[in-house]
């Protein structure tokens, strides 16, 4: 084995197929949920033995190409506020740079204690992953489980934060025509940095970017999603450039992910059309919680590798196995549920195409 394979894993047919499967499940979930699918693919690759930083780097590179293809369609539908995207991007670059720097530092042994190389970065990535996604999933689940009457009263995302911040009117304010909103640079900057930081750290910037655009900036949902995808293209390019410069991008993983994800994403998007909104959110939150659980189970392993926890190293494989099980179980169950609806709808379309025509008998008509 060559020395550069220290960063990159050996890929045999079995591993390759698992990465393609990860890509497929991630793609289906991504198309269905509207996120990048990194919350599944990144930990999945880590479970296959890929270093956290390489998993993040390969995934952000994968996201870049995917966003480039996808944002074209959103652009045609008029859902992209390019000015907003550029403004967020400028600040997000600082966030990405910060993330790349921290990840690289920890990977190169910044955590000290003579720890296994990469364990510090793995622990850090896992902790950020667990904290952020737990908040996202629980908020989503709370929304779904809210009694229907209350849900109606609450009537969708609140504008409380956007309205509260708008009161300050901190200059300079920027008007975004497509999104039809005005945002202070002082509010835009921290949101951009946070989005970039999360995209660079765990590859899920959209989980912060989209809600922030909706809740904090007051951007319509369709425009928030389209703009985020447009933004993801540039952030992905910058992330890919930075990580490739550091030598962490495994292009083989990126290509294998594409094999599954670009097919899966079509099926996921198709699923959105045939499943109701509440169900989508329920499935999403449960899948994310299981992914969080899966990553949480791996944390003691990294703590041991760093010398913070005294447990038998032989347990590592069990932690890894259980973590992998939860991840694949959540992803596979979610994907199967989605595919079930997709196939059912596909058969319905083919089999039950009908127009029922009823003509009233003349005698019963009232004209």
């Amino acid at each position: 084995m060559h020395h550069f394979l220290v960063n990159f894993i050996q890929i045999d047919v079995g591993i390759a197929l698992q990465v393609v499967l990860l890509g497929f499940i991630g793609g289906v979930l991504s198309g269905f949920i509207g996120s990048g699918g990194a919350f599944f693919m990144t930990p999945g690759m880590m479970n296959l033995g890929v270093e956290g930083v390489v998993a993040v780097a390969s995934n952000i590179t994968h996201k870049f190409g995917k966003a480039m293809v996808g944002s074209r369609k959103h652009g045609e539908a008029g859902n992209v506020d390019k000015k907003l995207a550029v403004c967020v991007l400028i600040t997000a670059i600082f966030g990405i740079q910060l993330a790349v720097w921290i990840n690289s530092f920890l990977f190169k042994g910044g955590a000290g204690h003579g720890a296994a190389k990469g364990a510090g970065a793995n622990l850090y990535i896992s902790l950020v992953f667990v904290c952020i996604l737990l908040v996202v999933a629980l908020s989503m689940l709370r929304d779904v489980l809210r009694p229907s009457g209350e849900g109606e009263e609450g009537s969708g995302p609140s504008r409380k934060i956007a309205d509260f911040l708008a009161r300050f009117n901190l200059p300079p304010m920027i008007h975004f025509k497509v999104a039809d909103t005005k945002v202070s640079v002082w509010i835009l900057a921290p949101v951009g940095i946070a989005t970039g930081y999360l995209a660079g750290t765990i590859g899920v910037g959209g989980f912060i970017g989209v809600p922030a655009m909706i809740y904090v900036f007051g951007v319509p949902t369709a425009v928030a999603t389209g703009t985020e995808l447009y933004l993801a293209m540039f952030m992905g390019a910058y992330g890919a450039l930075s990580y490739a410069f550091q030598g962490f991008v495994d292009i083989r993983l990126t290509m294998l992910l594409y094999l599954g994800s670009l097919l899966g994403i079509y099926l996921g998007v198709y699923g959105v059309k045939v499943v109701n909104e509440r169900y989508i959110r329920l499935v999403t939150s449960v899948i994310i919680i299981l992914c969080v659980l899966s990553r949480g189970i791996a944390i003691p392993m990294y703590l041991r590798q760093l010398g913070y926890l005294a447990i038998d190293p032989g347990w590592d494989k069990y932690f890894n196995l259980v973590s992998k099980f939860f991840l694949f179980a959540s992803g596979s169950t979610g994907t199967l549920l989605i595919l079930y609806h997709v196939i059912r709808a596909y058969r319905q379309r083919r089999g039950i195409q009908k127009s029922l025509r009823v003509i009233k008998p003349v005698s019963t008509q009232t004209v």
């Binding site: 930075s242 594409y258 379309r349 009823v358 004209v367």
Partner: protein
Amino acid sequence: MPIVLISSSPHGVGKELARELERKTGWPMFSREQLVEQAHDQGIKLSRLETSIVKSPVIPEKLAREKELYLAFVTAKLCENAREGNLIYYGRAGHLLLPGVSHRLRVGLGVPRQMRVDNVVHDLRLPPEKAAEYIDQLDGDIEKWVHFVHRQDARDPVQYDIFFNLQNMSLANAAVLLCDTAELPDFRPTPASTKRLDDLYLAARAQLRLSEDEHTRGLDLGVRAVGGVVTVTYMPRQEAAAQSISQVLQDLEGCQENVCTMAETNLLWIQEAFDPNTENFKQITRLAQRWGAAVELLRLVPRSGDAPVPTASQAQEEPRSQKPVKQVYTGGVEDDDTEAPADDGGLADTQEELVAIGRSAGGFTVVGGTHEIIEAVEGNSHYSLVILGNLFLDKAAETRKRQTRELGLSIRDRLKAAVITIDELQSRFMFGKKQALKALVYAAALVCLYTAVFHFQDPILNLLGGELHAKWKWAVAITVVVFVPLVAYTYSTVTGLLLKLIDID
């Protein structure tokens, strides 16, 4: 005589102008407040919808349905009274109601801000600064309302027939002018505008009836009515409700026939003449089947300057929106409008064919151009695709192309839907020989890319993170950023084409 729709802001003088007009003409007057109260009594949760529009950037599905019901309720009430004669209506965005009815007189009012502030000070006993803030807030909220409910910009002057600036004009004089304007022949009912009113009335009542019945309440339905034929589209997941829809509409007054089509979305096909035996028809129905969509036909009869002009009598007699000739129902009594056009441009036959294959979302004729098309479809504009067929047939090829393109841009702008021409249909959405060849070429390129990378793993990994990388860091980074989208684009093209082949996209 017309239906006078006065668009007035709160604490403006719309109410006073309407009263003045009522006093002069004796026409019945309705206010938005009255109708809102009645809608509330009918169980339409309007206050929740208003709160939602103001407070949240996203409207939940259930409340979006309330919007449709509210519009149906207001439309039904106005049509019910307008059918008996004239009427005056005033209220928020009143000028946007009853789209496509040519004998409505849409009135805008420019009220000096200070006058409104004074009114608030007087009505609500607020200090002037607070009153001004209150007015601004209110106007902002109303703008959001109009944007969501009517998908229009209330400030767009094109929406009004007459606009009064009350800075230098008294209400009494404005009312006099309004009375005179109302007398103009332009605002007199024509057979076409009366039919349009009847269609709106029937569709609104059908929608309300469906919302009241326990079997059909809460369904996502698209309801349209043309000449006594009510077309309802419903989502595939609500398939069980199809039978109930027909039963619920069975004894609806004025409904001679109803067609229920299962559809996730609608395609709008605009053309001057239809023929179910053409290749275009086959392509569109195939696309509709693939998308689970219903096809709505709009036959455009261009007006003067655009295409053959209907004669004066035709313009009077031919309804702006009319049902296909073959479906004209006489009930044993011949209609007064005996000059219904004999040539319906193949609309009826094409619609029959669509019903037969289960993809019909109705069909109608529009006389005019872009403005008339938008007015006719605006209330039902949930189209995922608008297809512009053969239009402006009397023009030279270049002019036809330009006018079609301009029409497409206007429709896309107003309806926020994707618009393509019939010529683009094959290349964009269908799988033919060209697409098969493209898929093969891209697939071959893809195989080459993957083979190269996985066959030469060692040198590539050396380049990505080994000694070569240390020497050529920037070059490697740039290569990765260029190479990855290339792979993504090639593979997504192949995948997209193959999914098209099996009818999933």
